[in-house]
Subunit: 412 residues, 2 copies
């Protein structure tokens, strides 16, 4: 095994915030300081944009006590970016690396970041420039390929499950129909986490609609009416990414109905959060007009709170996010020039994880599917609910949820 | 002083949930059990509706350990109601009281509940039927008259402030304009609590719009542009109850624009939460169309999470909510036939509160103003921000907020 290259390192953060993304950053910082091969550790301000503009934090000169606080702070402390570098952009990155003797690049982000990491790594290999590139996974959507789950998801799932515990009690106290729109463009993992709120047999969410199954508005009205007729109330979890049978997004359909223009980001992705409020109001309005005997219908979008609410992270998620940061540095000292850190759930009676290094092309493949969907085994046949078996997957990632009590049904 | 009447007691909960409304319920239960004058303590299911339908919980037969859990559980454990009883409805309440030898009535709710309490109390006095009626205040809006603040507000304020801490970091990491719609129909107290998120000089919320000041859409666009030009980002707190200079609600104006019908509740109050999503999208859309160089504009409504998110209550608020429940029972054993428990902030260097019993007509007056607004001293002259002096009022009610860290701005 060749001795690892000696030189500087760059770490960057990209994409939407998570509550634990800075755990990964601090994991990289504390681990990098252990190895003399890594000289200066530079923090790129706002991801790749900070690299090409040569705007860096000196991460070796941060007070240790402040770093611990940063680790527990939501949203990229270095600043993030949604820039998706093309080949020319990546050449600029590579030139900055060469100029600054950068031999290690750690990029914390989703599959777009892995794609960027891959282009830069290939460029370095072609130029026979020794560079280790390690992608550190993060996304609240939990839709990265290969890894058992993604750092950031557990905390977002804890927020969503907790919100549904409260909203279920709210809906019991003042009966009616309540619809909550949850983040998740292509994958229903976060929406599905709402089922952790169920404790009593009649607890909500009673219906769960995911992007993985076509959403039909007539069936939706029928489903809600059925639950309402049984319980006198109905709590519904809806993913912002629901689409009709032709794959057309409902957020977009509603927007067209209202002659609005939804913003699109640089990736061409529809910014669903921009229209989630209208989608929520549309679903509520449809129920108000078409249901029978349902007078109270309300809807909320949980929005950015899901990815940045402070002081309420999952402890397991925080620990794992730190771990993948540390392991990224550790793997960078091995022979492999590039890779992505994946979490592996170990066969055990109690929840245990390990990590492994996978190829960048495994997490950022050239051809679809580029992301993971909710496995069909967790979705009911009607496509309007998530099975309780999903608790086994998501429960350990979320950890303890608030305990609630209720009065005994004793009449005087 | 006459000896207190011996007989049964009824406790009920009304209106929108709070996170600590069951602290007040458990305060009533534990205190009532101390006094032999109070025989059975009946819990009315869904407020006054449970009384007229004679649907009660036996509150003396609840396990003590479960009661402690109930106290920490959001949303009325007895169930709530939005029924606003008229005279005939109150007569039915009174008849049930007579039939069941009810001599004590504790009603946990807002000013509508105090109004109901007052009608029933007057009826009893006219009939020379000995009945003690005590109103126990609760509302996240913090808009009840006389009392220094309302149980339920501190926890909702903690949620909003925390959400803004996270969202401010989110907005730093990925720059743009972010608008959050906060609950509060007539009073801006909850929206104003967002300013607790400010820690660094450039922290948001940078603009705060309250129902107490007219909202002008042109001025709004100008305000946001100015902040954005200075910081490259802008975080905005908007009350759902903002109105134009003629007092017309913006949520309603937007709704008319979209030819939707917003639901109205039995009180004739506009259900703002029903249209908050559209208001959020409207404000974001207007900025997208009319601002310069602002590409990222997002909006969220915090919705019901503000009133029912579990496991995140303000400790002071929880303690005070318990206190007003206990004191309601204590006051009921005095001579006064009826009243409402008010919190009094004592002159002291550290935050200290006491309680006093005020008249029901003080909290539910016959003529407007029936609720309290944000004192003008806390609002800036332009009417687009809340002054930091408001921290002194709201800070102690919220208690500790999550601590966050940031990287030192040292370049390598």
């Amino acid at each position: 095994m060749a001795s690892p290259a000696s030189g500087n390192a760059v770490v960057g953060q990209a994409g939407g915030p998570t509550v634990v993304i800075n755990q990964s950053l601090v994991g990289v910082i504390e681990e990098a300081q252990k190895f003399p091969h890594i000289k200066n550790l530079l923090g790129a301000r706002h991801g790749v944009r900070g690299i090409i503009n040569e705007q860096f934090f000196d991460l070796n000169r941060q007070p240790k006590s402040m770093l611990e606080l940063v680790a527990r702070t939501p949203a990229a402390a270095l600043g993030a970016t949604r820039d998706k570098p093309d080949k020319e952009y990546c050449e600029r990155i590579f030139n900055v690396f060469r100029k600054n003797d950068v031999r290690y690049f750690f990029y914390i982000g989703g599959n777009d970041s892995a794609e960027t990491a891959n282009i830069v790594s290939t460029m370095a290999q072609d130029a026979k420039y020794e560079l280790r590139v390690i992608h550190v996974p993060k996304t609240i959507d939990n839709d990265l390929l290969v890894t058992d789950h993604c750092p950031g998801y557990g905390s977002a799932a804890k927020f969503v499950a907790s919100a549904f515990i409260g909203d279920n009690l709210d809906n019991r106290a003042l009966k009616g129909v309540k619809i909550n729109i949850i983040m998740g463009r292509n994958a229903g993992f976060l929406t599905a986490a709402s089922i952790l709120a169920r404790q009593r047999p009649d607890d909500g969410p009673h219906l769960v609609y995911l992007p993985e199954r076509p959403f039909d508005i007539d069936q939706f009205v029928k489903d809600v009416q059925e639950v309402f007729d049984r319980y006198g109330r109905c709590l519904v979890a809806v993913s912002e990414g629901i689409a009709d049978k032709d794959g057309k997004l409902w957020a977009e359909k509603v927007s067209v109905l209202r002659q609005e223009n939804l913003a699109r980001d640089a990736f061409g992705n529809l910014q669903l959060s921009a229209g989630a409020g209208s989608l929520a109001d549309y679903l509520a309005g449809t129920l108000r007009n078409r249901s029978k005997n349902i007078t109270r219908v309300r809807s909320d979008t949980f929005g950015y709170l899901q990815r940045s609410f402070p002081g309420y992270e999952s402890e397991v998620d925080a620990w794992e996010a730190r771990l993948v940061g540390q392991m990224a540095v550790s793997y960078s000292l091995d022979d492999t020039p590039a890779g992505s850190v994946a979490l592996v759930r170990l066969p055990s009676t109690t929840y245990t994880v390990g990590t492994k290094l996978i190829g960048l092309r495994e997490v950022a493949p050239e051809k679809p599917p580029k992301t993971k969907e909710m496995p069909a085994e967790y979705i009911n046949e009607a496509g309007n609910n998530v099975l309780n078996s999903f608790r086994e997957y998501v429960g350990p990632l979320v950890g303890d949820l608030p305990k609630v009590g209720w009065l005994e049904q004793v009449a005087p």
